[in-house]
C-alpha cells in the first residue's frame, strides 16, 4: 500500500524532473549573465539587466504567451530548433522546463551577481601572480568564493520552478503525464466536483517539497559558508 497514489507520484516526479532540468540547464547561463552584469561594462547592459528581470514583474501568462509565440513549432526560434536540431518544446515536459527556467532565471542571476560582487578581487589578483590563468582563477577562486550565492540562486530557481503555474499552462498546456506538474494537477483537481480531498493532499505535498528545499538550502549554505571561511 503506497503512501502516494500513482497520479500523485506522476505529478511529483514530473515536477522534480522539470525542476532539475530547468535549473541544470540555466546554471551556466545564469553564471555567465551574472558575470557580465557584475564585472563588465558594455553598451546595452541596462537593457540586458531589464530583460533578465522581466519575468519577475510580468504576469506569468505573458511570459508563457511569449514563449508560445517564439518557441512554438511555427515560432521563429521554435521552427529553427525543430528544423536544425529536431528539438521541440511545444506541449511537452521540456517546454515546461523551459518555462520554469525562464521564470526562475532572474532569481538565480540576482543571487549569483550579488555573490560575485562580494568576491574580493584582490584574491583573484593574487591567484594570477601565482601563475593561474583567467579560467583557472575563475574555477578555483571565484566560483568557490561565490559558492553560497550559487547555491542560494539554484535553490531559489528550483523552488520557483516547482511552483510554476501560469507560464507553464499557457505555453505547454495541462497534459497528464507530460506537462501536468504538481500545481497544474492541483488546479485540475479543483476544477472537478469532489476533488477537494485529493487537492488537499497535493497541497500538503507541495508544502512539504518547498519546505524540504528551503531547509536543504539553509543547511547547505551554512556548510559552504563555513568551508569558504575556512572554519570547517
Amino acid at each position: 500500500m503506497s503512501l502516494l497514489s500513482p497520479l500523485e507520484i506522476e505529478a511529483l516526479s514530473l515536477s522534480l524532473e522539470v525542476g532539475l532540468l530547468s535549473v541544470a540547464a540555466s546554471l551556466p547561463f545564469g553564471l555567465a549573465i551574472a558575470w557580465l552584469l557584475a564585472r563588465r561594462n558594455f553598451p546595452g547592459k541596462i537593457l540586458l539587466d531589464g530583460i533578465v528581470h522581466l519575468p519577475l514583474v510580468l504576469p506569468p501568462v505573458v511570459v508563457g504567451f511569449a514563449l508560445l509565440v517564439l518557441f512554438g513549432r511555427k515560432g521563429p526560434i521554435g521552427a529553427w530548433l525543430y528544423d536544425i536540431l529536431g528539438i521541440t518544446f511545444a506541449f511537452n515536459w521540456k517546454g515546461a522546463a523551459l518555462a520554469s527556467a525562464v521564470m526562475g532565471f532572474p532569481l538565480m542571476v540576482r543571487a549569483m551577481r550579488l555573490a560575485l560582487e562580494l568576491v574580493d578581487r584582490r584574491l583573484e589578483e593574487a591567484a594570477r601572480t601565482l601563475g593561474a590563468g583567467r579560467s583557472r582563477v575563475f574555477l578555483t577562486v571565484t566560483v568557490p568564493l561565490m559558492g553560497p550565492g550559487i547555491l542560494t540562486g539554484t535553490i531559489l530557481a528550483f523552488a520557483r520552478s516547482i511552483s510554476e503555474f501560469g507560464a507553464t499552462i499557457t505555453f505547454v498546456s495541462n497534459i497528464p503525464g507530460e506537462t501536468r506538474t504538481l500545481p497544474l494537477a492541483l488546479y485540475a483537481l479543483t476544477q472537478v466536483p469532489g476533488g477537494e480531498t485529493a487537492a488537499w493532499r497535493l497541497a500538503a505535498l507541495s508544502v512539504a517539497l518547498a519546505m524540504a528545499a528551503l531547509v536543504a538550502s539553509e543547511f547547505l549554505a551554512r556548510r559552504v559558508d563555513r568551508r569558504i571561511r575556512g572554519l570547517a
Partner: protein, 379 residues
C-alpha cells in the same frame, strides 16, 4: 638586472619612473604614502598596465609598449607578497602553499619541504586560514609566493599591518630568503629601520618619480634628499664589521675605516658585516675634543657640506673616514649652534654619538662585496 621605465596617468596623479635594480639582494622602494611605490610594484607584477615604457627582469621582457609586449601576470613568474597576505580562505595552509607550485618543479632549491622548514610552517600546514595570526598569515603568503618559483619576489610593505613583535618575528625569515635562497627582492616600505636591516640598494620615490637610486649608504648620505627621507628618519648608513666584544660592560665594537663605534652588545659572531644607521639628530658636534663626558663615541671629523633643513635646523654632513675611504655621517643641529661655533665647510670638528641611540632596528647584516672594508683585527 631589473630595469623599469614606465609612465602612467591615473586621474590627477601621474607616474614617471625609471630605475634599475641589481638582480641580487634586496632593493628597497622607499617613499611616503602616495609616492607611487605600490603602483610601480603592480606594474612589475602586471596588475597595472603602464601607458608606455619597458619593464624587464634579466633577459625577460615583461612589458614593452614599443615592442608590443605585455605578459599577463600569470606568465611573469614574479612572486608577490601583498600587505594584507591575501590568502585563499577556502583552502588550508597547505592548499594555499601548493596553489602556485608548478606540477613539474623547475628548481631544486625551492621545494615544498624546504619552504616549510625555512618559514617554520610545519605546525600550520593543516590549519584553516581563519585560525592564523597576522604574522603566520604573512609567513604563509611568503611561502606561497616562493613555491611558485619566481625569478623575482615583490614585497609590498609585508610588515606594515603587523605589530612590533610580529614584525620582529618575520624579519629573520626575510633575511633568510635573501641569504639562503639568493632570491632578488623588491621591497616596498616606508620604514627606514627595515631598509637598514634588509636592503642593499635603495630607490627613493617622491610624487610619482624616482628621486634617487643607488646603494643604501650613498642615497642616505645625500643631504638634499633629507626632506624625502623624513625629518626624524634622516641619517647616514655606515658599513662596519663587528670587531670586538667587551664582556665586562656588555658592549660591542663596530669597526669602520677610520675608527670604531662602541655600542650595546650585539649578539652576532665577530667579523659579521653590519650596516648601521645613525640618525642625524643623535649626533652632536664639538670644536674641541670634549673631556669629562659620558659619550664614548667621539670621532674626529671634517665638515663636508652644510644644508639648512627645516627653519631653525641645519644638517651638517661629516666625513669620519680616512682619506682613502670616506665615511659619511650626518649631524642635525640648530642654526644658532652652528653660528656660535663658527661651523663651516672644511672645518675639523668632533662628532659625538651616544651608544644608547642605536638599537636593534639600527643594524642590518649585509653581504660584503669584494673590495669592501674589512677590519684586520676582526680576523
Amino acid at each position: 638586472m631589473i630595469a623599469v621605465e614606465a609612465r602612467k596617468r591615473l586621474g590627477s596623479f601621474s607616474l614617471d619612473v625609471r630605475f634599475s635594480a641589481p638582480s641580487t639582494g634586496i632593493t628597497a622602494l622607499y617613499g611616503r604614502s602616495g609616492a607611487g611605490k605600490t603602483t610601480v610594484v603592480n606594474m612589475l607584477a602586471g596588475l597595472v598596465r603602464p601607458d608606455e615604457g619597458r619593464i624587464s627582469v634579466g633577459d625577460a621582457v615583461l612589458f614593452s609598449s614599443h615592442e608590443h609586449v605585455d605578459l599577463p601576470p600569470e606568465r611573469r613568474r614574479l612572486g608577490y607578497v601583498f600587505q594584507e597576505a591575501r590568502l585563499f580562505p577556502h583552502y588550508s595552509v597547505r592548499g594555499n602553499l601548493r596553489y602556485g607550485a608548478p606540477r613539474r618543479p623547475r628548481q631544486r632549491l625551492i621545494t615544498f619541504d624546504s619552504v616549510v622548514s625555512l618559514l617554520a610552517l610545519a605546525p600550520l600546514l593543516d590549519r584553516p586560514i581563519a585560525a592564523l595570526s597576522g604574522g603566520e598569515k604573512q609567513r604563509v603568503a611568503i611561502g606561497r609566493a616562493l613555491l611558485a618559483e619566481p625569478r623575482l619576489l615583490l614585497m609590498d610593505e609585508p610588515l606594515a599591518s603587523l605589530d612590533t613583535p610580529r614584525k620582529a618575528e618575520i624579519l629573520p625569515f626575510i633575511e633568510r630568503l635573501r641569504d639562503e635562497l639568493r632570491l632578488p627582492i623588491i621591497y616596498v616600505t616606508h620604514a627606514m629601520a627595515e631598509i637598514v636591516r634588509l636592503a642593499d640598494a635603495l630607490v627613493l620615490m617622491a610624487d610619482g618619480m624616482v628621486a634617487a637610486a643607488g646603494s643604501v649608504e650613498d642615497v642616505t648620505s645625500r643631504l638634499e634628499l633629507a626632506p624625502l627621507t623624513g625629518l626624524a628618519e634622516a641619517g647616514a648608513v655606515i658599513r662596519t664589521t663587528l670587531a670586538g666584544h667587551d664582556m665586562t660592560f656588555g658592549l660591542s665594537e663596530l669597526a669602520f675605516p677610520g675608527g670604531r663605534l662602541r655600542v650595546s652588545h650585539v649578539t652576532l659572531p665577530l667579523g659579521t658585516p653590519l650596516r648601521v644607521r645613525v640618525r642625524a639628530r643623535d649626533v652632536a658636534l664639538a670644536t674641541t675634543r670634549p673631556t669629562g663626558i659620558s659619550i664614548r663615541n667621539v670621532f674626529p671629523a671634517r665638515i663636508v657640506e652644510m644644508a639648512s633643513a627645516q627653519a631653525p635646523l641645519v644638517d651638517v654632513r661629516l666625513d669620519i673616514g680616512t682619506p682613502e675611504q670616506p665615511v659619511a655621517l650626518w649631524s642635525r643641529i640648530t642654526q644658532r649652534a652652528a653660528q656660535e661655533l663658527g661651523l663651516e665647510v672644511g672645518r675639523a670638528v668632533f662628532a659625538l654619538l651616544k651608544a644608547v641611540a642605536l638599537d636593534r632596528g639600527s643594524y642590518g647584516q649585509f653581504e660584503p662585496a669584494a673590495g669592501d672594508f674589512r677590519d684586520d683585527e676582526a680576523g
